[in-house]
């Protein structure tokens, strides 16, 4: 527990040229992930806040849509994804919050490391938080609405869908923190960009849970994968330009 992030950063490990070996690169990524998880394990604010938030969103939908047995089956998957999206967006808003509040982003940028390692580290730590939230939400949906959600394919599409959403979200959060109104700016930037992966994930989830065969949702499934791949490329290529200045 006392293995604080600072002590793992032994400076002789890093060259001053920004071309570390693969091993060093992942070491930096691991350090950043571990730092975020460590902070969260001590503060315990993010996960608990997101949990309460998700419960409330679910409750609001239950009453707003009057989810009785007949309508439930049609809209539950949509409600589930909206809950994911809202919770992830709140989580994303906190991605760079520690760095922003304590002005430590400058410190990270000054250290002789590859900037994309910062992005990859930040993305993976956010993705871990999103997955934890999903692990909480899915059983909750199962208990409250009695929908069988534990199909491996469905869980896979949840992982792939939130992968793309968190990926683009992390990229756009690093944009949003530069503006005056960052909490409002993130959804404005992120929702239209992430529309394709949300639409495809909802289509896919609906098809899987209603027992459709592969041919009926293969297009949507492929689109989720294509989106993930394209935005990995875009994020890696553009993050340098975002963070540099």
């Amino acid at each position: 527990m006392m293995n604080s992030p600072v002590s793992t950063m032994k400076s002789p490990m890093y060259n001053n040229d920004k071309n570390p070996t693969t091993g060093q690169y992942w070491r930096i990524v691991r350090t950043i992930i571990w730092k975020d998880i460590n902070i969260e394990m001590r503060k315990k604010t993010l996960i608990s806040a997101l949990f309460i938030f998700s419960v409330m969103v679910t409750l609001i939908f239950t009453f707003a849509l009057d989810l009785d047995k007949s309508t439930r089956d049609n809209v539950a998957v949509g409600v589930l994804w909206v809950t994911f999206v809202f919770a992830s967006t709140l989580g994303l808003n906190q991605t760079f919050a520690n760095e922003k509040n304590h002005r430590s982003l400058e410190g990270m940028l000054l250290s002789p490391i590859d900037y994309t390692a910062i992005f990859v580290g930040k993305f993976i730590s956010t993705y871990i938080f999103v997955i934890i939230i999903e692990i909480i939400i899915i059983p909750m949906f199962y208990i409250l609405y009695g929908i069988q959600l534990f199909s491996p394919l469905f869980l896979l599409i949840v992982l792939l869908g939130s992968f793309g959403y968190t990926l683009v979200g992390t990229l756009l959060t690093s944009i949003a923190i530069r503006t005056q109104v960052r909490e409002i700016m993130l959804p404005i930037l992120l929702f239209p960009v992430s529309m394709p992966i949300i639409i495809a994930s909802v289509q896919c989830s609906n098809a899987i849970l209603s027992g459709a065969n592969w041919g009926q949702f293969s297009n949507a499934f492929n689109l989720v994968i294509v989106y993930d791949i394209i935005f990995i490329g875009v994020a890696i290529m553009t993050f340098d330009h975002l963070i540099q200045e």
Binding site: V168, I175, R178, V181, M185, Q203, V234, E245
Partner: protein
């Protein structure tokens, strides 16, 4: 760039003349469509504004990439100006389509794939303009909006695929027609001429507005530099 430009004046005057000619072409030269009647004439401007929107966003993409590659601030001016014009033309495209759809589809709006894609594209570039307005510092703003300009353009074809059910009620006049489309018609020779004319008119108009807008932006930044110098002396 900074002085009044005779070529720009020529462009402005010629786009004015072309617009007047295109009004004549659309309202008088083009024949009346048999089934839909006069409302079909909106089609010429609808297609032209849609084409300009796509062109404008493509220009934003290309100049954004060029800006990140070369760091030349001129590219950033073009990217931002083009996105602004694109948003205006997308709005025209959506509004004209909606007016046409009221009598033909019997509704102002429907969540057809084509319409949904257009709306998302519209929102993406409005977000782009928001971002441009919300960022402080010239250098920071240029880098960040350039990245968003690239991200925004990529998500347009993806959205198009995401909701692409092969049946759409939106008519496809150019190329193969979908039997499910409502408001389908075949173009006569005069209609084709009119369409080509309005599309070229709008392209000239787009280039003219773009030129004006880039010039205003350059002047604006030149002025900021002068002000900065003045206050620091």
């Amino acid at each position: 760039m900074l002085r009044t430009n005779s070529r720009l004046k020529l462009m402005t005057v010629s786009s004015l003349i072309l617009i007047i000619l295109s009004i004549y072409m659309v309202l008088i030269y083009a024949p009346r469509e048999v089934v839909m009647g006069e409302i079909q004439r909106i089609f010429y401007y609808h297609v032209a504004s849609g084409w300009i929107a796509a062109l404008a966003f493509l220009v934003t993409l290309i100049t954004s990439i060029m800006f990140l590659a070369t760091q030349n601030e001129r590219h950033d001016h073009v990217a931002m100006s083009s996105a602004e014009i694109g948003v205006i033309f997308t709005t025209m495209n959506i509004v004209s389509g909606s007016i046409w759809a009221r009598p033909v589809w019997n509704t102002w709006w429907t969540w057809d794939p084509r319409l949904t894609t257009a709306t998302i594209m519209w929102l993406l570039y409005i977000a782009y303009l928001f971002l441009h307005a919300g960022l402080e510092g010239h250098d920071r703003r240029r880098h960040i909006t350039a990245v968003y300009g690239i991200v925004a353009f990529i998500s347009v074809p993806l959205t198009f695929m995401a909701i692409r059910i092969w049946r759409t009620i939106h008519p496809v006049v150019i190329g193969s027609a979908d039997p499910d489309a409502e408001g389908q018609f075949d173009m006569t020779a005069r209609m084709t001429t009119t369409l080509l004319f309005t599309v070229s008119t709008f392209t000239v108009l787009y280039l003219t507005i773009l030129w004006h807008r880039v010039r205003i932006q350059s002047l604006f930044e030149y002025m900021s530099k002068l002000q900065y110098q003045m206050y620091n002396d």
